[in-house]
Amino acid sequence: MNRSSKTAFIIFGALLALFVLHFTGVITPFENLLKSALSPLGLAATSVGTRLSRTFSGNMTAEQCLEKNVDLEKSLAGVSVDYVRLKALEDENEVLRKTLGYLQKEGYDAVMARIISRSAIPERSIVMIDKGSKDGLEIGMAVIYGDGIFVGKVSMIQERTATVALISDAQSRVAVAKAGEGKLMGLVEGQGNWTAEATLIPQQESLNENEILVTSGTEGKIPANLIVGLINKVEGLPTDPFKHASIEPMAPLEYLEVVTVLRPQALRPGE
């Protein structure tokens, strides 16, 4: 046996052993340990990448700025009217929540998590976070950004890390309702490249630009009324059974660094 064949033999043997050990779960504790050891390095690399990306995305041409400005002014006009209405509703809601003890009843609490890495494939908007099953996370839990902006749900879980499928991921599906109505209206499906689309909206549903979509609350681990996005453009012929609309996510999905995972109180470790 010459040297090259020997090397090939050793490598294939080692790979086969690794394959078997991985699938039988023998090396899972070692993998978890390695993942948590690499987390801080991944975090630093992601942070540098995000900053670089932000710096480059700031360089828009004059035409792009103008176009963006027109869009924003249009959105602002719609949002300002809504804001006044929603402010009144919010105040009322605040009182009602306190009265009914909403949070205690729903029993959701939150875990802050930082993003360790992101998918490099544009079609897949998936991120890895530095919290896992040890922190009480479970598959399907809602992940939010800031003040209740829904950004995705936990799709895979390990002991110390978890992966989150963002709303723009091509395989992401979230049941949504119109803000304030609380009635299931359709699905928001990810389209890749940080975009999403609302689909399966019955033709009789009225839907306008700049309306806000929220989670419907029909999924077990996702509470209702988390903001999903703003409707950009409604499409579909009157003869189609369903219409669809492009959605503008309310959170900067490509620049997320810290997110919050909502978990039911019953899942808190040690309780």
Partner: protein, 177 residues
Amino acid sequence: MRKSSWALLCIAAVVGGLYESSFLGSAPDALGYIKPILPVCVMLFMLNRKPGAYIVAVLSGVVIDMLSPLQSGWTMMRWLVVLLIVDLLSEKITTNRSLYSAVALALAARVMDRIISQIMSWVYPILSGQTLAFEPWHRLPGVLISDALIVALIFVGVTIFTKRFVIAVEARKERYE
């Protein structure tokens, strides 16, 4: 290789793994075409540093597999298989140590990696019931161009600063007589 060179190589491999796993996912899209690990491994082969190439492939592959938010694409395994094929190609076909053979090997390595990825994306769901996602094919030409540039840069750099690829025989007629 000296111990310090090994240490440097290992650190570079981990940094390379971090670059291709965590950094590229967050960085501007254009940088996504620059994937230096595989071309560097090929250049280590050209420089007769085969163990070094395998070490880089293993360390970077492990870092990428551990930090990949998608289902692990068995990067380490793929790269080791690719390097074995590159080893075979460099011994049987591209036996000279020219810039062209270095570029050809790097391009062959990338294409083989992509083909193995594609085969895995068909086989893996049958074995584990989970899907594997890989970079789309339309990005491959961009990655190949960047690979060729990386190899050319390293080759030229090595030629300028060392005597590794310098031809010692004087280029004149009847020089072997």
